[in-house]
Amino acid sequence: MQFGATTALSEVSIAFEPGEVHVLAGANGAGKSTLIKILSGAYPSYRGEIRVAGRPRRLSSPAVARALGIATIHQELSLVPSLSIAENMQLSLTGSALGLRSRARERAFAARVLSLVGLALDPDTRVERLSLGERQLLEIARALAQDANVLILDEPSSALSEPERLRLFSEVERAVQRGAAVLYISHRMEEIYRLGQRISVLCDGALVLTRLASELDRAELLRAMLGSARPELGAARPLSRSAGEKAVLEVRGLCAGQAARVEGVSFTLGAGEVLGLAGLDGSGPSVLLRALVGEAKLTAGEISVLGQRYLPTGPGRALGRGVAFLPADRKASIFEELSVVKNASLSALGRFTRRGFVDRARELRAVSELSARVRLKAPSLTSSARALSGGNQQKLALARCLLAGPSVLALEDPTRGVDAASKLDVYAAMADALRAGLGILLYSSELEELMALCDRVLVFFEGRVVSLLTKPEIGRERLLAAMMGAP
């Protein structure tokens, strides 16, 4: 198969051989998901040529891709939780002439699918009762049962337990033995080398290298993934720590979360310090931030804020104790129907309220002063938040956290999907907050951001802190290697 250019990918030419696991690696935004979307038929407007089994094909829709034997298993699974296994399998079968369902045929097909991966389950079990690993195996089995000869797996192991992962590996190996070509996307070093026979690296939309796994060592792989530094972040204002400050947040032996979890996390955050949290999706930083405001179940450990013991029970109480949390997803932080003022003041309304009535003049003064500090660009303070750009919405959400007057800011990837200019505004607002004596916990999916902004970085791997890097040693390679579980 061969590809031409798209916007996020340019001039990528790559071939997948039958009977081989081909690992695709690359940092966030390198173009992996674009490539997968093209191959699964979800991006029909690509330029270039794709040949399947030697013949040029146009992958114009997911149905076309499936008919050509290309099966994609996405991170978000495509099973219907409220239906049974048999019914789910039936969704991909063609019906009888009258569009009637045959229960016997459904069950027989489901049984065949289940036996392919050795899952001892009743076909009538509803999918919502299966573990994530079982669902993933089920999807792979469905693809195999439909005689897929190209199998695309997008980070399939990220949410799996150890035994489930081993099971997955053996299924992938079996598929390969049957002559399938497997395209495997992974972030885990150990997995890349265990499964991959050939490795391709994407960086900034370009194919950097394709090599046999046996001819590519880890250091070289990391270097290829990192590419060259992006210049825009060089302009980020470095945040300095005023040394010898008091601790605003102390965490000892924290265990939290259920499906995604963290274990045994301990650290101290000083006033005026930015403590970075690094890790792949699902490796722990998000759970830690949520646990601090009572959004993830705390199972062990001690937290204190400004020296006082603190048991998080919910975002409202957390704000009362001085911990403000900003979620990465703007859908969980912005009220599109409400005005800028109402959005900004929501968490701090208590300060503007007397006998239940909002003092709107004081509220407006406080919000307009703060919105100037975060350099918010809005048509007016009374226009609805819907009218704001993504970057300005993010500044607005940050303004709400700041207005609540916290001592700890827990930021979850605050510049995700934010334009370059707004990023700098966010950094400036953070620097402002630091000068005011706040401590900032910053999780970011961009390594450059962590390097530029943080005094220290805690690196998570599979729910545990695997290393603590301090300023001079926070380098891209060290960060990425630790995130990928390299010793």
């Binding site: 859908k331 969980a332 009220f335 129907e337 409400l338 109402k342 929501l346 968490s347 909002v358």
Partner: protein, 351 residues
């Protein structure tokens, strides 16, 4: 992009002179709500029912007729702003009417004490619904449907299935007739030179109270926040459960107020009264332009919606349409009005 440019070119062809005032008219939600009302009033002027539409008496009667529904619509607005629904208001109204009649007529309680009890019981029904919605996380539709059936049953149980009036069988089995308490006459009176009935003033008072809560109080901010984006409200530290309970409690409270008004107007507590009133209240809210998906709207809009619905039915009845035809026309016009408003919203958003 190309579609946008196409729209812009089209706009230029039609001329900006016409567009600017049109946009001004459609950008404000109040203006959008007033348009259907203006259309209905225009209809009234054209088909005036031999001039009956131009008599002050017609309008006075209309204001009185929409008052009880309007009081329910105030509470409904608050619930709908939180993206919920309260189907129980018609039944809670009947329950309140029955309890009020029982206490004042049969037990001989003084009106103020009876009012307190009825308001408390209506609020309690709302709190029960609110708790189920907020803490048990049952869908508002189901919870308030259950409350609707339950309250109707309770009203029938308490009244023995009979209308509770001043003529009833006493403890000894003999029928007695008590004089109508003073309060009944008071609430049903017309004031301001006999032009406005007291019930209408009660309605306006409820609307004002709702406006203060929604637009001036912290609680109002919380109500809009919960309805606009529940998850974001929770993460921003809004006490979401308490806010939801308050919304349903206020709706129950207003249903009790409406029940007392209804009992006074009918001079009896009828367990079958208020059937389908919840739907009228919802129609008033929606006609005003408050979105059923929550987080947007207001009680001022509901006031306009109440007038629109009231005038629509008035015009149809003045022109001697049969009840059957009136219902069908009301249904059709409701849909037309909502579709029309949505068009306006869409055109103002893209502008």
């Amino acid at each position: 992009m190309t579609k946008h440019e196409g729209d812009a070119a089209e706009g230029a062809r039609f001329g900006d002179a016409l567009r600017a005032p049109a946009r001004l008219l459609t950008r404000s939600s109040t203006a959008r709500a007033l348009l259907p009302l203006a259309l209905v009033l225009l209809l009234g002027c054209v088909f005036s029912g031999q001039g009956a539409f131009f008599e002050w008496q017609t309008h006075r009667a209309l204001l009185r007729e929409i008052s009880v529904h309007g009081i329910l619509a105030c509470g409904m607005t608050v619930v709908i702003v939180t993206s919920g629904i309260d189907l129980s208001v018609g039944s809670v109204l009947a329950l309140s009417a029955v309890v009020f009649a029982l206490l004042t007529l049969h037990r001989g309680w003084s009106a103020p004490v009876a009012i307190l009890w009825v308001l408390a019981s209506g609020t309690l029904a709302g709190v029960a619904s609110g708790l189920l919605v907020a803490w048990a996380r049952v869908q508002a539709f189901i919870v308030t449907l259950a409350m609707m059936v339950f309250a109707r049953g309770l009203a029938k149980q308490l009244s023995g299935g009979q209308k509770v009036s001043h003529y009833f069988a006493g403890a000894d089995g003999q029928f007695v007739s008590v004089p109508e308490p003073l309060f009944f006459g008071m609430l049903d009176r017309k004031v301001l030179g006999g032009n406005v009935s007291v019930v209408t003033l009660v309605f306006l008072g409820c609307a004002l109270l709702t406006w203060v809560v929604l637009e001036r109080q912290r609680l109002g901010r919380y109500l809009f926040a919960v309805g606009g984006n529940f998850e974001a409200a929770r993460l921003s530290g809004v006490p979401v459960a308490g806010t939801l309970v308050f919304a349903y409690a206020l709706s129950g409270f207003f249903a009790a107020v409406a029940g007392i008004c209804q009992a006074v107007q009918e001079t009896q507590g009828d367990p079958e009264t208020g059937l389908g009133y919840e739907l009228d209240a919802i129609a008033m809210v929606v006609l005003g332009g408050t979105s059923l998906s929550g987080g947007r709207g207001g009680v001022g809009l509901t006031l306009i919606g109440a007038l629109t619905l009231g005038y629509l039915q008035k015009v149809l009845s003045l022109n001697a349409y049969s009840t059957e035809l009136r219902l069908m026309l009301t249904g059709a016009i409701l849909v037309a009005a909502v579709l029309f408003q949505r068009r306006l919203v869409a055109s103002s958003d893209s502008g």
